[in-house]
């Protein structure tokens, strides 16, 4: 992914850009979440979008598959503009994507096998059930959960749910896989399992990967390119080394997990009783 806000990287939709975003702005009522963002996602590469909570990472990734429509700006998939397509036309495009949602978003009422089968049943007429079982088995084996076909999401741990959701995301052999906070809520070991799976799937399937995360360990491990969002704008972009040494103070503060001086001042103030505040005895006669 390349972005044109950073001086070192310019938008390059004509080369390897499988996904291109041009001048994307998104606001909800008066709240501007994304502010004139332009970037290119390179084919076959892993791009990681980092940034503090609420900075618009999830909103950005949902625009890449047009689950959200831009307030202004354009989104292109393989040089075709997709943000202005009808839902029916978009559905034909979306089968080229896999999307791993933050909470997995598995269907509670369906078993693991039925969840994985869901996109297949929606787009193909199934005639050979043995072949279908083999597909489910293969996809589950890829995420290390073969044998869990008849389990229901409620019977799985958080990490297992994400792995099943990942198996479902790759059920249609997508060209692009979008991950929304894939390691959030997992312990470090299970988070690393997800990181290894992201690397493995990219290697074995040759897909383009976009990951939204605030887990820097994960970002450094899987990213070919990292971009940072802050207040709806891209403030940095480059490989892991470039981000580590980026001069922008907000970038350094984020990647090192440091609280700002202003926030620290407020936190240190909290818990003290200011002189202007009334005490219970002030109301006693």
């Amino acid at each position: 992914m390349k972005q044109n806000n950073d001086n070192k990287t310019n938008i390059d939709s004509d080369t390897n850009g499988i996904l291109v975003v041009k001048n994307l702005t998104k606001h909800f009522d008066d709240n501007i979440v994304l502010d004139n963002i332009s970037l290119t996602i390179e084919k076959g590469k892993t791009t990681v979008v980092i940034g503090p909570s609420g900075c618009g990472k999830t909103v950005l990734i949902k625009h890449l598959i047009v689950l959200l429509r831009p307030s202004s700006g354009e989104v292109y998939f393989k040089n075709r503009r997709i943000d202005n397509l009808s839902e029916n036309e978009l559905n034909k495009i979306r089968i080229h994507y896999g999307f791993l949602f933050q909470g997995g978003a598995l269907f509670d009422s369906l078993s693991v096998a039925e969840n994985i089968l869901f996109p297949v049943r929606q787009h193909y007429k199934i005639t050979d059930w043995e072949e279908v079982e083999e597909i489910i088995k293969t996809k589950l084996a890829m995420v290390g959960l073969d044998g869990f076909q008849n389990y229901y999401p409620a019977n799985l741990s958080g990490g297992q749910q994400k792995r099943v959701a990942l198996a479902r995301a790759i059920a249609l052999d997508p060209e692009v896989i979008l991950y929304d906070e894939p390691t959030t809520g997992l312990d470090p070991i299970r988070a690393d399992i997800i990181n290894e799976l992201i690397l493995k799937l990219r290697r074995e399937l040759g897909v383009t990967v976009v990951v939204v995360t605030h887990d820097m360990t994960s970002a450094y491990k899987i990213a070919d390119r990292i971009i940072m969002l802050h207040n709806g704008k891209i403030i940095a972009g480059g490989d892991a080394e470039h981000i580590r040494n980026h001069p922008h103070p907000t970038v350094q503060q984020f990647i090192n997990g440091q609280v700002s001086d202003d926030d620290l001042t407020i936190l240190r103030m909290s818990g003290t009783i200011s002189k202007a505040q009334f005490l219970p005895r002030d109301f006693e006669k």
Binding site: I93, I95, A105, L106, F107, P119, Q122, H123
Partner: protein, 270 residues
Amino acid sequence: MIGIVATKTISGLGNSGRFARFVWQTITASAWSCSKSRTYPLIWTQMLIIGVRSVPVILITGAFVGMTLAIQVYDQLRSMGLEERMGQLVGVSVVKELGPVLAAVMLAGRIGGALTAELGTMNVTEQIDAVRSMGTNPIRYLVAPRVLACLLLTPFLIIYADLMGIVGGYFISVVLKGINSQAYWSFSASAVELWDISIGIIKGFFFGSAIAVISCYNGFTCREGAHGVGQACTEAFVASFISILAINFALAVVFNAIYSTFWPLRSLVG
């Protein structure tokens, strides 16, 4: 003040527009679902959940409506020496008005609440977005089967409610009050015409589709969190309830006009 009114008006128009678009999308999705045999299993499943599992509560509702009505009118008819016509009064009241409306209200509570809670939870846990991300129209997959199941089975449930209403009236009239059994049934049969039953069934189509569409819409548009889902369920029930009453009134006006045009007026006790 003018600004607040203008904002509320614009917001109301926006909501109406979104609801109208949702209704149109549901109609087209339902038509599409009817034409694709692979969607039938989804409809059967919803028919089981919405229809079959509502039968007990509908039977109980119908029975109590009939029994309460019989208790209320017995003394008045007896004072005029007309107690043998209990079947006539209970039959007409239950089949034309009380059965369909109260059965629909009960369905709005049972089915409407469940549909809104289910779809609302799917919405806040991103399951609806997941359906879209896999290239599937969520209205076709989630809404159309539920609306079709409600549309097709509410009339049957209303017939059950009618039947149990008359049986409930029989229990009070014949078993408790000692009215002649044959008189109860014969007056019931003479009073309730095919027209009356048809009105109940037609009302069922309208009530069923209104409950399903309103409940699904509230589920699809519910705000995040437990509070959002709870609020959506409440709003869905209130909107369904008001819609049932409004549709009932509108259909009563239409059917009365049709009836008085084609058939002479019928006296209740004539």
